[in-house]
């Protein structure tokens, strides 16, 4: 329980934000940042802990979003079960792609390629299939009641996404301490060695991908419910695949808080760019891409890594001073 304290403090701090301000601009920013943190956490589970870099998390995000929307619009399903089924569907897509890819022994750049290709196939299918509204997209009818999972104010949405992020933090924290987490890291560090020690690497990776996809899908379900509109480019577009990996890599890959920290930094940078240069298309992504290259070049362990290095340097500096004081006494 003590180990959960950092998560509790972080979530409590974020939960206090609506007490301070209910400004739409602030809440909108935070909702979107938390959404990216959630997708990022999904990516982090597979990419950060498992070492399998997916370039196609849009496949899961989009499936969650579409299932949530289509069940409501076309089949009259209530929003809450639709949300849950969206997560299940995303997880199923993750399990299927994972099974196909890992059973075929795809690793490294091949895995990145195949995930990218699956996301693109889904995007193209969604842009022509009648059930997704094809090029027009899908609009969820406005129905501002909590039964329909829609709210007049942004505050309830904020608490929902915060709760989802909190769950993902706890989940990843717990996985870190289970046998499954140890297997996953072993596979990342040296798959052949892990397999030689009896770890069923393929099953571990498929399991991680299923969970990872479920988390990304939850973010997609939330997106559909929050913005009430999706189309193929939003749901399955490459933008979300990039956001998904950018946040954990900037924050600190393979760490519990990496995705959240990264999302905060990246989104703040994005907003700052907008303030300076206006709402120019593409400019924020130029910044994101540069940040990605710079982080990989100069801080491969992300913000978390930089902070750890700083703390260690401070401690060393303090220790270097301490003996001198003893000598004086």
């Amino acid at each position: 329980v003590r180990a959960l304290a950092p998560i509790l403090v972080t979530v409590a701090l974020l939960a206090a934000v609506p007490l301070v301000t209910q400004s739409n601009v602030v809440l909108n920013f935070l909702v979107f940042t938390l959404l990216i943190a959630l997708v990022g956490q999904g990516w982090n589970l597979l990419g950060g802990y498992g070492g399998q870099y997916s370039f196609g998390h849009a496949a899961f995000f989009g499936t969650g979003a579409y299932v949530t929307a289509i069940l409501q619009v076309r089949y009259g399903v209530n929003a809450w079960p639709a949300f849950a089924l969206g997560i299940v569907a995303g997880a199923a897509v993750g399990a299927i792609i994972g099974t196909l890819a890992f059973r075929s022994g795809l690793r490294g750049s091949y895995f990145a390629l195949v995930t990218l290709a699956f996301a693109e196939v889904l995007r193209i299918v969604a842009s022509v299939a009648p059930i997704t509204g094809a090029g027009v997209g899908t609009l969820i009818k406005l129905d501002l009641r909590w039964e329909a999972l829609q709210f007049q104010s942004r505050v309830p949405f904020y608490f929902i996404i915060l709760a989802l992020v909190a769950i993902s933090l706890v989940l990843v924290h717990l996985i870190e301490r289970t046998r499954f987490g140890a297997w996953l890291v072993a596979v990342r560090e040296n798959e052949d060695a892990a397999a030689a020690l009896g770890v069923d690497a393929t099953r571990v990776k498929i399991g991680a991908m299923t969970l990872s996809a479920a988390i990304a899908a939850a973010a997609g379900c939330f997106y559909a419910q929050y913005y009430l509109f999706i189309d193929a480019g939003i749901a399955y577009g490459p933008w979300i695949s990039i956001e998904a990996l950018l946040a954990p890599i900037v924050g600190g890959v393979g760490t519990v808080f990496g995705p959240l920290l990264g999302a905060l930094v990246v989104k703040s940078l994005g907003e700052a760019t907008k303030l300076v240069a206006g709402d120019a298309p593409g400019l924020d992504l130029v910044i994101y891409g540069s940040v990605l290259v710079l982080v990989v070049a100069f801080a491969p362990r992300g913000i978390v890594g930089v902070l750890a290095d700083l703390r260690r340097a401070l401690r060393r500096a303090r220790r270097a001073e301490a003996p001198a004081e003893v000598g004086r006494a």
Partner: protein, 290 residues
Amino acid sequence: MLSPAILIPAILNGLMTGAVYALVALGLTLIYGVLHIINFAHGALLTAAMFAAFFANRWLGLDPYVAALLLTPLFFALGYALQRFVIGPAAHGEDRNILLVTLGLAVVIENALLYAFRADTRTLDLPYGFDTIEVGPAFIAVPRVVAFGAVIAVALVLWLIMRWSDTGKAIRAVAREKLGAELAGIDVAHVYAVTFGLGTACLAVAACVLIPSYYVNPSAGNAFVLIAFTVVVLGGMGSVAGALVGGLFVGVVESLSGLWLGESLGQIGIFVMFILVLLLRPSGLFGERT
């Protein structure tokens, strides 16, 4: 069944489109064969080259086929610099990092173009843009025939470089056995950069033969990059002959599946093939099974 009068032109046109795929794939496979990395910035660099060819015509009045003479060395230098000063140092020799760095570069290039030129689609009006020549029952656009010729020429030049020049020998040595090559006194970082430059130079040629009959916008290269990936995977990563044959093959498949399934679903044909090849035979049809 479709009649030969429809089928033959479709196949011929597919071959001509496939030639461009082959050219793009050639650059990709060259880089993979030596550096053992998948260059995710390939599509964005192609887009950049297409913009360069476009504005060489608009601003300097250069015919795209003439501009190729200028742009090819320029893009060689660009590729060289990218590998030498950005990708190489930033990746710390880790494959995962290289993936991320090339992806980051792709995002930067593509969106810098979007920022500079907006999402507008641009086309060049050239006097020969719609000329055709008759081949049996088919009419084939002249720019496509030129593209086909250019691919053959580039492949030949590359083969000559690889086979006979000292640089080519060094590249082959590094591809085969990096450590040994290094011990023999070959500057591996330089060879990597040269290879990356050659791969990028292929894109400049591809862009110049594409632009007379194609359009350019900030994501124009993406249409080719996944296809080029498919081609490279199909032909076997690192195999030059595989890239050529694979490119032509994919062009024909696209043309035929477009005929049966319509334009946008025709694209799916490629992706499905890509995924199937990746899953079933990741070493490609020509590569050795690992």
